[in-house]
C-alpha cells in the first residue's frame, strides 16, 4: 500500500505548483517573456511526464502511482491514477494549458502583474491535472477546489467588464456545487468508510438504494454546476466571456470538462444502477442545455460571450452522450470532451487574436477581416465547423457517436432534437463568421494586422488537431473508447 511506485504523475502536478512561486518571485527578473517561456517550459515537462504512461495505458493497464499515507485517520493514501479515462484528459489539459501559456506571452503584453498571472496559470493547470489524476475522493475534491482558487483570481484580477462581481459569481456558483459534491463524498465515507475510488464500487452495494440515490444526486449536482448544465449555467457566460482570453481557453476548453470527467468517473462508475434511473431525466436536461445555449448564442453580439454560450450548448452534447450509458455514447461523449476542448480553445484564441488586433469585441462593429487576418479566419472557420459537427473535423467524429449512442439507448426523439440542435450551432457560428470576417471592412479597421506569431502558433497547432482528430479519429478513440466500454460494462439495465 505504502510502496512508492514512480513519480511521473506526482511531478507533473508538483512541478507547476513549485514553479508558481518561482514565477511569482522571479517575475521581475524574468520579465513577461521570460516568465511565459518558463511557464511553457514547465508545462512541456509536465505534459511529457504525463505522456510517460502512454504505453501502459494504451495496452489497457491501470497505472497507479502511490506515495504513501496522507491522512492515517481516514486511511487516506496519496496516489494518482492513469487509465484510459484519465490519461487522455490529463494530456488534453496540460497540452492546452501549454498552448495557452505560449499564447499568453503576447496576449498579456498590455496587462499588469504578469508574473502573478503566470503563477496563477501554473497553479490552475496543476489543479486541473490533479482532479483528473486523483485516485481518492478527498484528493479529488482538494484539486477540484484548487483549480477554482487560481482561476477565480485570474478572472477577478485580469478580467474585463465587471470582473469582481463576475469572479464572485463564478466562485460562489462553483463552490456551492462543490459543497454539494462534498456532502456526497462525505456521505459515501460515512457508509463505506473509504474514500478510495478504486475500492469503492464493491462497497457501495451495501448501501440502501435510497441513500445511494441521494449521494449520487448530490455529487452530480456538483458536477453539473461545473459543467454548467441548464439552469445552473449562468456563471459560465459571464466568467468565460470576461476572463482574459488564454484563461477563457482553459476554462471553456478544459476546466468545465472536469465535470464531465467526474460524471463518468463517479456518477456512472460508482452508481451504475442509479445512473440508469436518472439517465433519462439528465438526457432531457442535456437537450434543453444544448438548445438553450444555442439560442442564447444566437442572441449575442459579444464575440466571447457567444463562444461562452456555445460552450453551454456543447456541454449539453457531452452530457447527452454520457447519459446514453452505452459504449458508443459514452465513448463519443469522452471524445467530444477532447474535440470540444481543442476546438473551443482554438475559437477563444481566435477571438483573442481579433480582440488583440482590433480592440473590438462587438461582432456588429467588425467586418471584412478575412483579408486582413486570413490565418485567424481559417482557424475560426475550422474551429467553428468542428464544433458544429461538420466533417471532416473532429467535432463530427464525436458528435455522431453521441447521437448514435442516444438512438441506441432508445431516446429517439431526444437524439433527433440533439441532431437538430446542430442547425442552431451552425447558424450562430456562420452568423459570427459572416459578421467578423465577411462583408465590408470598416474604415477604422483598415490597418489591422494579423496577431503576432507567438499567438498564431498555438492556433495553428489546434487547427491542425481539429482536422487530425476528425480524419484519424481512431487514434484518440483507441484510448477513449475502451474507457467508455469499461464504464458501460458496469451498467445493468433492468
Amino acid at each position: 500500500m505504502t510502496e512508492i511506485t514512480g513519480f511521473n504523475m506526482l511531478l507533473s502536478i508538483l512541478l507547476p505548483t513549485i514553479a508558481a512561486p518561482i514565477c511569482y518571485f522571479g517575475g521581475r527578473k524574468f520579465g513577461r517573456v521570460g516568465n511565459g517561456i518558463f511557464a511553457t517550459f514547465i508545462l512541456v515537462i509536465s505534459t511529457g511526464l504525463l505522456l510517460a504512461s502512454w504505453n501502459r495505458v494504451s495496452s489497457g493497464e491501470k497505472v497507479i502511482e502511490s506515495y504513501g499515507v496522507w491522512v492515517g485517520l481516514f486511511k487516506l493514501n496519496v496516489a494518482f491514477l492513469h487509465d484510459n479515462l484519465s490519461f487522455p484528459i490529463s494530456i488534453l489539459i496540460s497540452g492546452i494549458a501549454m498552448l495557452a501559456a505560449v499564447y499568453s506571452i503576447a496576449y498579456m503584453t498590455h496587462e499588469h502583474d504578469q508574473e502573478m498571472y503566470f503563477a496563477a496559470l501554473l497553479l490552475f493547470t496543476a489543479g486541473m491535472v490533479g482532479v483528473v489524476l486523483a485516485s481518492n475522493l478527498i484528493l479529488f475534491y482538494l484539486f477540484w477546489e484548487m483549480m477554482l482558487v487560481p482561476s477565480y483570481f485570474l478572472i477577478a484580477y485580469w478580467g474585463t467588464g465587471r470582473p469582481r462581481i463576475i469572479g464572485f459569481k463564478y466562485f460562489m456558483f462553483t463552490h456551492a456545487g462543490a459543497a454539494s459534491l462534498l456532502a456526497g463524498i462525505l456521505l459515501t465515507y460515512a457508509y463505506t468508510a473509504t474514500f478510495d475510488l478504486l475500492g469503492l464500487p464493491n462497497l457501495l452495494s451495501s448501501i440502501s438504494p435510497g441513500m445511494l440515490r441521494i449521494i449520487m444526486v448530490l455529487m452530480s449536482i456538483g458536477f453539473a454546476v461545473k459543467l454548467a448544465i441548464f439552469p445552473v449555467h449562468t456563471w459560465l457566460p459571464d466568467a468565460h466571456a470576461e476572463a482574459p482570453t488564454p484563461i477563457s481557453v482553459l476554462l471553456s476548453g478544459v476546466m468545465i470538462k472536469t465535470g464531465a470527467y467526474a460524471i463518468v468517473r463517479m456518477s456512472i462508475t460508482l452508481f451504475p444502477s442509479e445512473s440508469v434511473k436518472v439517465s433519462y431525466g439528465l438526457s432531457v436536461l442535456a437537450v434543453i442545455t444544448m438548445l438553450w445555449g444555442g439560442f442564447m448564442a444566437l442572441a449575442q453580439t459579444d464575440i466571447k460571450r457567444l463562444l461562452a454560450y456555445s460552450s453551454v450548448s456543447q456541454v449539453g452534447y457531452i452530457l447527452f452522450g454520457l447519459m446514453s450509458l452505452n459504449s458508443l455514447g459514452v465513448g463519443g461523449g469522452l471524445f467530444h470532451i477532447v474535440n470540444h476542448g481543442v476546438a473551443k480553445g482554438l475559437l477563444f484564441m481566435c477571438a483573442g487574436a481579433i480582440i488583440y488586433s482590433t480592440g473590438i469585441r462587438d461582432i456588429n462593429k467588425l467586418g471584412g477581416l478575412a483579408s486582413k487576418m486570413p490565418l485567424t479566419a481559417v482557424a475560426t472557420l475550422c474551429g467553428a465547423l468542428s464544433i458544429a459537427g461538420t466533417p471532416p473535423f473532429g467535432g463530427f467524429a464525436s458528435e455522431w457517436m453521441i447521437f448514435a449512442g442516444g438512438f441506441a439507448s432508445g431516446n429517439t426523439v431526444l437524439s433527433s432534437l440533439a441532431i437538430a440542435a446542430t442547425m442552431v450551432t451552425v447558424a450562430y457560428y456562420l452568423r459570427m463568421i459572416k459578421k467578423v470576417f465577411f462583408g465590408v471592412c470598416p474604415e477604422s479597421l483598415s490597418d489591422v494586422k494579423e496577431a503576432p506569431s507567438s499567438m498564431l502558433l498555438p492556433m495553428a497547432i489546434l487547427t491542425f488537431l481539429t482536422v487530425i482528430f476528425g480524419i484519424f479519429a481512431f487514434a484518440p478513440l483507441q484510448i477513449l473508447y475502451p474507457a467508455g466500454e469499461a464504464v458501460t460494462r458496469l451498467i445493468v439495465r433492468g
Binding site: 461538420t390 448514435a404 438512438f407 459572416k434
Partner: protein, 620 residues
C-alpha cells in the same frame, strides 16, 4: 494501362483531396503554376475515374466492396463500393468537374483569392467523388457535409459582397436541415442493423430485421437529406441564391456535383427502400411537385443564371420522380437523365458564364442579339437549349422520354400530368432564355456595349460539352448494359407523343412572345395574370416565409428570451439570492443593539432556554 489503376476507386477522391491541400503550398511557388496544378490534378482524377469502367464491366452488374479499417474500436471501416452507379456518378463528377476547372483558368483569371478558389474547387470534386464511392452511410455523410462545406465557401467566394455571404450561409443552413434528417435516418438504421454499410443494410432489410415503422421512418428521413441537397420542395430556396457565386461554381454545383448527390443518394438507397410503398409515394410526389413548381418559376425569372437554377431544380425533380416510380425502368431513366442533365446543364451554365463574361451583367433584359458577337457561345447554347427542352435527337429528349415512359407504365397519372406540364414549361422557358439572350436587339446599356467571344480556354469546354450533349442520347443501350440492367429499351408511341406534345405546347407561346413578337410579354404581367406572375416571381413566397420565420422572428425571439428570461429571470435569481442574503443579514443586525442590559438578558434567556431544552430531552 494506367499506373495504379487497381487503386482507382480510392485515388479518384484522394487525388483531388490531396491536390487541394497542396494548392496553398504550390501557390507559394507561383500563382500560374497553382492554376494549372489544380487543373491537371482534376484531370488526373477524371482519368482515374474513367479507368474504373473496365473494372465495372468485369463485375457484370455485380458489386465490389473494398474496405480498410478506420475506427476499429467501433468496427468502422472506410470502404469504396464499386458498381456501375458509383463509377458512373464519379465519372460525371470528375469529368465535368475537370472541364469546369479548365474553363476557370480563363473565366477566373482576374479574380482575387484564387488559392481559396482552387482549393475548394478541388476539394469539392474530391468530396463528390468520395461521396459516390463511399460504401457506407457514415462515409457518405462525411463527404456529403464536405460537399456542403465547399459549396458554402464557394458560393460565398466574393465574401465582401453582402448578398454572396448571405447566400453561402443560406445554402449551408438549408442543406443542413436536410442533413439533420439524413443523419437521424442513418443513425436509426445503424442502430437497428449494426452497420453503416449499404450492402449490410440491404441484407438486413431484406431479411426483415427491421420493424416496418422504423424502416419507413428512417427511409423517409434519409430521403430528407436528398431533399435538402437536391433542393427539392420545400427546401428548394437555397439553390437560386447560390447563383451569387462565380458561374463556374454554379456549373459545378448544379451540373456535376452537389445537387446530384441527392439523386445519387436516392438511387443508392432505392434498392434498400424500394419495397416501401409510402417511401415511393413521397419520393414521386415531392419530385414531380418540385419539377412543376420550379419550372413555372423559371418562366418569369429575368436573371440569366436564375433561370438555369430553377431549371436545374426542375430537372432534379424529374429525376427524383423517375426514381419514385419504383421500377427498374424508372431507376434507369433517372440515371440516364442524370447524365444528360450533367452535360447540357454544364454546357448551359458555361455558356451563361461566357455571356456574362462578355456583357458584364446577369440581367437578361439588358442582353439581346448576342448571336452575332459570340457565335460559338450561341451555337453551343442552342444545343444546350434543345437538349434541355427535349428536342430530338439531343440527349434530353431521350432521357425525358424514358422518364415519361416509366411513369406511364406504372399508370401514375397524377405525376404524369405534373411532369407533362413541367416539360411544357421547360420548353417555354428554355426558348425564352435563348431568345432573350441571343435574339432580338441589343439594348444600349453601357456595360455590355462591346461584347466579344470568349477565349479558347473557355470555348473548348463548351464545344466538348455540346458535342457530348448531341450524341450521348444515342448511348442508351450501352449505358443500360453498363448499368447491368436487363430491360430492353426503345421508343414507345405513347410517351413519345406526350413528350413531343408538351414540347410543342411550350414552344408556341415562347415563340409567339419572344421570337416573332406577335404577343407582348406585358400581357403576362398585367390583368388577370398579374397575381400569378407575382406569385411565380416571388417563388411562391417560400423565401419570404422562411426569411420571416428564421431570419427575422427567430433571432428576435432568441434575443427576447435572452433579455427577458436568461437575464431577467434565471440570472436575476442569482442576484436575488445574493440580495436575499444581504437582506437577511441586514434585518438580523439590529438584534445586536450594543446595549449591555440587553446582552445580559440574552445570556439569561440562553441559560433558561438551554436548561429547558436539556430537561425536555432528558424527559423531566
Amino acid at each position: 494501362m494506367f499506373p495504379y489503376s487497381e487503386y482507382a476507386p480510392w485515388l479518384v477522391w484522394l487525388i483531388p483531396l490531396a491536390g487541394s491541400v497542396l494548392v496553398p503550398l504550390v501557390a507559394l511557388v507561383n500563382t500560374r503554376l497553382r492554376d494549372w496544378f489544380a487543373v491537371v490534378t482534376s484531370f488526373v482524377g477524371a482519368a482515374y475515374s474513367l479507368s474504373m469502367i473496365p473494372q465495372v464491366l468485369d463485375l457484370h452488374g455485380g458489386v465490389a466492396d473494398l474496405k480498410v479499417p478506420w475506427i476499429p474500436q467501433i468496427g468502422l471501416q472506410v470502404g469504396v463500393l464499386i458498381d456501375s452507379l458509383s463509377v458512373f456518378m464519379s465519372i460525371v463528377a470528375s469529368c465535368i468537374g475537370s472541364l469546369i476547372m479548365l474553363y476557370s483558368i480563363g473565366y477566373m483569371a482576374h479574380e482575387e483569392g484564387l488559392t481559396r478558389y482552387y482549393f475548394f474547387m478541388l476539394f469539392f470534386i474530391g468530396g463528390m467523388n468520395g461521396l459516390v464511392m463511399a460504401d457506407n452511410f457514415l462515409q457518405l455523410f462525411i463527404f456529403w457535409e464536405i460537399v456542403g462545406l465547399c459549396s458554402y465557401a464557394l458560393i460565398g467566394f466574393w465574401y465582401r459582397k453582402e448578398s454572396a455571404a448571405r447566400a453561402g450561409i443560406k445554402a449551408f443552413i438549408v442543406t443542413k436541415a436536410g442533413d439533420v434528417l439524413l443523419l437521424i435516418g442513418v443513425l436509426i438504421l445503424f442502430i437497428q442493423t449494426g452497420s453503416f454499410n449499404f450492402l449490410n443494410t440491404k441484407d438486413a432489410v431484406e431479411a426483415g430485421k427491421l420493424a416496418t415503422s422504423i424502416l419507413m421512418t428512417s427511409s423517409i428521413l434519409v430521403f430528407g437529406g436528398a431533399i435538402g441537397k437536391s433542393a427539392q420542395f420545400p427546401l428548394q430556396v437555397w439553390l437560386p441564391d447560390a447563383m451569387e457565386g462565380p458561374t463556374t461554381v454554379s456549373a459545378l454545383i448544379h451540373a456535376a456535383t452537389m445537387v446530384k448527390a441527392g439523386v445519387y443518394l436516392t438511387a443508392r438507397t432505392f434498392f434498400i427502400f424500394s419495397s416501401i410503398h409510402e417511401w415511393l409515394m413521397i419520393v414521386i410526389y415531392i419530385g414531380s411537385v418540385t419539377a412543376l413548381m420550379t419550372a413555372t418559376m423559371a418562366l418569369v425569372s429575368v436573371d440569366i443564371k436564375r433561370v438555369l437554377a430553377y431549371s436545374t431544380i426542375s430537372q432534379l425533380g424529374l429525376m427524383i420522380t423517375a426514381l419514385g416510380v419504383g421500377s427498374e425502368a424508372g431507376w434507369f431513366a433517372s440515371q440516364f437523365h442524370v447524365m444528360s442533365h450533367a452535360l447540357f446543364k454544364a454546357l448551359l451554365f458555361l455558356c451563361a458564364g461566357s455571356v456574362m463574361h462578355a456583357v458584364g451583367t446577369t440581367d437578361m433584359r439588358e442582353m439581346g442579339g448576342l448571336r452575332r458577337h459570340m457565335p460559338i457561345t450561341f451555337a453551343t447554347s442552342v444545343v444546350g437549349v434543345l437538349a434541355l427542352s427535349g428536342v430530338p435527337p439531343f440527349n434530353g429528349f431521350w432521357s425525358k422520354d424514358l422518364i415519361v415512359a416509366a411513369v406511364l407504365h406504372e399508370r401514375l397519372y397524377l405525376p404524369l400530368i405534373l411532369i407533362f406540364l413541367t416539360s411544357l414549361c421547360t420548353a417555354a422557358y428554355s426558348f425564352r432564355w435563348l431568345a432573350l439572350v441571343f435574339f432580338g436587339k441589343q439594348p444600349n446599356s453601357g456595360k455590355g456595349a462591346h461584347p466579344h467571344e470568349s477565349p479558347l480556354v473557355m470555348t473548348v469546354p463548351l464545344m466538348i460539352l455540346a458535342a457530348a450533349a448531341t450524341i450521348s442520347g444515342f448511348f442508351e443501350e450501352p449505358f443500360s448494359e453498363y448499368l447491368g440492367l436487363k430491360h430492353g429499351v426503345g421508343i414507345q408511341m405513347a410517351p413519345l407523343t406526350l413528350s413531343l406534345l408538351a414540347l410543342l405546347l411550350g414552344f408556341i407561346p415562347s415563340y409567339m412572345v419572344y421570337f416573332s413578337g406577335s404577343m407582348s410579354p406585358i400581357f403576362f404581367r398585367r390583368g388577370p395574370l398579374e397575381s400569378i406572375h407575382k406569385l411565380l416571381s416571388q417563388g411562391y413566397y417560400f423565401d419570404r416565409i422562411y426569411y420571416a420565420i428564421f431570419l427575422d422572428s427567430f433571432p428576435r425571439l432568441c434575443i427576447c428570451i435572452y433579455n427577458q428570461i436568461e437575464n431577467r429571470i434565471i440570472d436575476r435569481i442569482n442576484y436575488a439570492v445574493a440580495g436575499a442574503a444581504q437582506f437577511l443579514s441586514q434585518s438580523f443586525r439590529p438584534t445586536h443593539t450594543g446595549n449591555l442590559n440587553y446582552n445580559i438578558s440574552a445570556v439569561l434567556i440562553g441559560l433558561a432556554g438551554f436548561f429547558i431544552l436539556i430537561m425536555v430531552i432528558v424527559g423531566w
